[in-house]
């Protein structure tokens, strides 16, 4: 019986295999194709959010602002809000004021802006407030406007900290240095008789790089903080010459040129205090390029990788680390609060930390950072 069955089975066996192959091919083909094509036609994140905020920062695309934005963005996601970074969208082609107008015209639910004390900004903030868009000023305030809150750093405290650092540098580097002053001695007829040598003490030159926006109250407060600290805490016989150099940051790329101008002068400052990340980076590069490491000391701002490395290499003496993400977070919190209760606190202050050679190891690599 078995033997009898064998041959028809052979035929049907092959027929069965054919059909099986057919079905497998079709199923596999459709499956593979769908998956394969699906990879290319994936739609973007379909998440929807309740509120839409726009953040406008200074146009220098420093990592500081990125950090602030990331803080705001992450907090926004938690609060069912989406925070857009308008500088990213337009990539420097518009001024803050233009972007403010765009934000107002876009009828967003809130604006976070790195404001200044200019009238135009005041006007725009008021315009936004009229259109019932709450405005949070970030880092730089506009006190006269109807902004709902200001998120920034304690400028006076930061100034005091900078002041203390200036004094520490003077102590450590034994500034001011003694200088031999050689002057010629002439007789009555104007004939030079001899050279006289005199040991004099040159005053310690401290230069604070200021933004061109003179109305920025923050940096003025900061400067007075430095000034007061130095005046109060310096040794009596030491002369400190504090100069405020305005850096032209109205145009793109002008900052770097302005900082290099300082180094072109004969009389170099002993200490340069930078109040933002870009200035710090530019000053650091200039010191290296002009071979003034050790001679010019930099007090920086923010903790970008470049700056941290520079501290490690003793080019930058110390830097103020502002908790940028915290600032962004405060902004969104303030806006959410405003939408919920119609009001919010007037000020939010972000934490400041000082990074120098002593604690640089904690920040240098990711592993240490996470610990």
């Amino acid at each position: 019986m078995n033997k009898d069955r064998r041959k028809p089975k052979k035929y049907t066996f092959y027929l069965g295999i054919t059909i099986l192959l057919l079905v497998i091919t079709i199923i596999m083909g459709v499956f593979a194709f769908t998956i394969y094509l699906g990879r290319y036609t994936q739609k973007s994140n379909p998440n929807r959010y309740g509120r839409y905020y726009i953040m406008i920062a200074e146009n220098n695309s420093a990592s500081f602002w990125k950090s602030v934005y990331m803080g705001a963005y992450e907090e926004g996601l938690l609060q069912d809000s989406y925070v857009d970074f308008l500088n990213d969208t337009f990539g420097g082609s518009y001024s803050k004021e233009d972007m403010m107008r765009i934000a107002i015209a876009s009828e967003v639910d809130g604006i976070i802006v790195a404001a200044d004390e200019s009238d135009e900004m005041t006007e725009l903030i008021n315009e936004a407030a009229e259109a019932e868009i709450p405005v949070v000023t970030l880092y730089g305030d506009n006190t006269q406007s109807n902004r709902c809150t200001f998120v920034g750093i304690g400028s006076y405290d930061l100034g005091r900290e900078y002041g203390r650092q200036v004094l520490e540098i003077m102590r450590k580097k034994q500034l001011p240095r003694a200088q031999v002053q050689v002057t010629p001695l002439y007789d009555e007829d104007g004939v030079r008789l001899m050279w006289t040598e005199k040991m004099i003490q040159r005053p310690v030159k401290v230069t604070v790089l200021m933004s061109a926006h003179t109305q920025d109250s923050g940096q003025n407060i900061l400067c007075s903080g430095i000034q007061e600290t130095i005046e109060n805490e310096k040794q009596e016989n030491v002369e400190i010459e504090l100069s405020l150099v305005t850096i032209d940051d109205t145009n793109t790329f002008s900052v770097e040129e302005s900082i290099r101008d300082i180094f072109m002068e004969e009389d170099l400052p002993d200490i340069i205090v930078c109040l933002n990340e870009l200035n710090t980076t530019c000053a650091y590069q200039a010191v290296v390029d002009y071979n003034k490491v050790g001679q010019v000391n930099i007090l920086g701002y923010y903790d970008s990788d470049t700056i941290l490395k520079a501290i490690d290499r003793n080019v930058i003496y110390a830097t103020a680390k502002v908790d940028a993400a915290q600032m962004g977070k405060y902004c969104v919190e303030a806006l959410t609060e405003y939408h919920s209760f119609g009001n919010t606190s007037q000020y939010f202050m972000a934490d400041i930390e000082l990074i120098n050679k002593d604690n640089i190891a904690e920040y240098l690599d990711g592993g240490a950072k996470s610990e």
Partner: protein
């Protein structure tokens, strides 16, 4: 399931082969259709890649038209430009309405949302500008125009930026898609090749499976053609044409075997019958011989003669005694040898007795001479042959010759044949009678006096049966009163010694 399988295997050959080809073609066709569908879908996707860009371009152009028509109207205040403005702003509004208004995680959606809101404001301001122009409020429409233009710039930049980003993204997608397309092409070709190869394999296997019984059939047929009918019968499972032919072949082989068997059997029967026939013939011959011998029954005569001879001897009649003794010898020969083969010598002895008796009876009228080579005395021959011939000679040849009758007996040899010649000098025989005698049709009217009853026909018949010669006797007669010579021919067959 089994039923279905059975139905499959019972399909006709055409059905099977057709189904295989249909299946194979269907397979290739299906794969092709799938590939084509895939290609279609991919090319559709590729066309869709830049659709968003096209839409944005349309939006941008529409916005330009609105701005230009507004500017035209502000410049010249023509009704054409106003109409154009309304039409284009209507169109632009419709386009903008189509944009999403969702705060989405996707940047494109958010940008579209912003463009939508800004466009709403822009159109509002533009309307206000047109209204101010109509009211000839120069200061107002100038300011509003500036505002509108500023917004127009922003929107344009936004659209441009979005367009750029999308284009960049789409280009990436396009590159990926076209790479995928290439890959798909390659895979498609590979799939088709694989399918074709698989098809070829499967078709070969399937056709082989269908054809294999045909091969077995051909092999068997070849063997049968070469004469081997003892081939193993084919296993036939299918009901297709091959199955039919296979069954027919098996039937044919079986039939041929049966036929061969039948023919063989009938041949054997025939042979047996022939044997039987031959046996019967010999039996018949035997019977005939016995029958013919039985015609002469001299028992009684012999016994009585014997008694007579004893009586003659008691009475002292010596000649009578001898005569009766010869008579008794003569008849005893008949009793003793009547059913057996004898030798020529015995037969001649009988003739001697007979002549003695006749000579007593006819007072020595018959002159008898014999010339016999003794070496032939042992040659076998049937009994009671010579005596009837001699009797015939006496009766028809010499009885009336009154003492002048003579009889000669000669035995001689020609080649392997022993010839016994009995000649008389009697009245002779005419040709007609000779023929009749030789043909066995001659009948004597009555048994002649002193005859022992054995006719010439009996003699000739018995000689023929014994010798199996056709010509066993010849009769020679020169003419009337010139005598007759009977010659009989015998095979040179000598008696074995123990029989003597």
């Amino acid at each position: 399931m089994n039923k279905k399988l059975k139905a499959l295997s019972d399909m006709s050959l055409q059905g099977k082969i057709s189904s295989i080809y249909i299946m194979a073609n269907l397979f290739v066709c299906l794969v092709n259709v799938l590939l084509i569908l895939g290609i279609n879908r991919m090319s559709g996707e590729m066309e869709m890649v830049y659709r968003d860009n096209l839409n944005l371009n349309e939006l941008s152009e529409s916005l330009d038209t609105v701005q230009n028509s507004m500017t035209d109207y502000l410049n010249a205040k023509t009704s054409d430009s106003l109409e154009e403005y309304y039409r284009s702003s209507q169109n632009y509004m419709q386009l903008v309405e189509g944009l999403e208004d969702e705060i989405s995680g996707g940047s494109y959606e958010r940008m579209k949302r912003n463009i939508k809101h800004m466009s709403g404001q822009y159109l509002e301001i533009a309307d206000q500008t047109i209204d101010a122009k109509r009211g000839r409020n120069v200061e107002k429409y100038r300011t509003r125009y500036e505002n509108a233009t500023q917004l127009y710039d922003y929107i344009n930049t936004y659209i441009y930026s979005l367009n750029n980003q999308q284009f960049k993204n789409n280009s990436e997608n396009y590159t990926k898609l076209s790479q995928a397309f290439r890959l798909f092409e390659t895979v498609g070709i590979a799939v088709i090749i694989a399918v074709i190869v698989a098809n070829v394999c499967i078709i070969t296997k399937l056709v082989g499976a269908i054809i294999s019984p045909l091969k077995a059939l051909a092999k068997s047929a070849d063997e049968v053609a070469n004469g081997n009918f003892e081939v193993e019968l084919l296993e036939v499972q299918t009901r297709d044409e091959i199955g039919v032919v296979g069954r027919a072949f098996n039937q044919m082989v079986v039939s041929i075997r049966e036929y061969i068997e039948r023919i063989r059997h009938s041949m054997e029967v025939e042979r047996a019958m022939q044997e039987k026939e031959l046996l019967m013939e010999s039996h018949l011959k035997d019977a005939q011989l016995k029958y013919l011998q039985a015609q002469i029954n001299p028992h009684f005569l012999f016994n009585t003669l014997n008694a007579g001879a004893q009586l003659a001897m008691l009475e002292g009649a010596d000649r009578t005694y001898r005569y009766v003794q010869n008579m008794a010898e003569f008849f005893r020969y008949n009793v003793k040898k009547g059913d057996a083969t004898v030798t020529i010598g015995e037969e001649i002895e009988l003739v001697d007795n007979y002549i003695y008796i006749l000579n007593v009876r006819f007072s020595g009228d018959i002159h008898y001479e014999k010339n016999v080579d003794k070496s032939f005395l042992q040659v076998e021959m049937p009994s009671m042959i010579l005596q009837p011939i001699v009797e015939n000679c006496v009766n028809h040849g010499i009885r009336e010759m009154a003492g002048k009758g003579r009889i000669w007996l000669n035995v001689y040899r020609i080649d392997d044949t022993v010839c016994i010649s009995v000649r008389d000098n009697g009245i002779g025989m005419d040709k007609e009678t000779i023929d009749k005698v030789l043909a066995g049709t001659y009948r004597e009217e009555e048994h002649a006096e002193g005859s022992n009853g054995i006719g010439m026909d009996n003699v000739i018949a018995r000689l023929k049966l014994f010798t199996e010669y056709e010509d066993v006797m010849s009769i020679i007669s020169e003419g009337k009163n010139l005598g007759t010579e009977f010659i009989i021919y015998l095979q040179m067959r000598e008696r074995e010694d123990d029989d003597v």
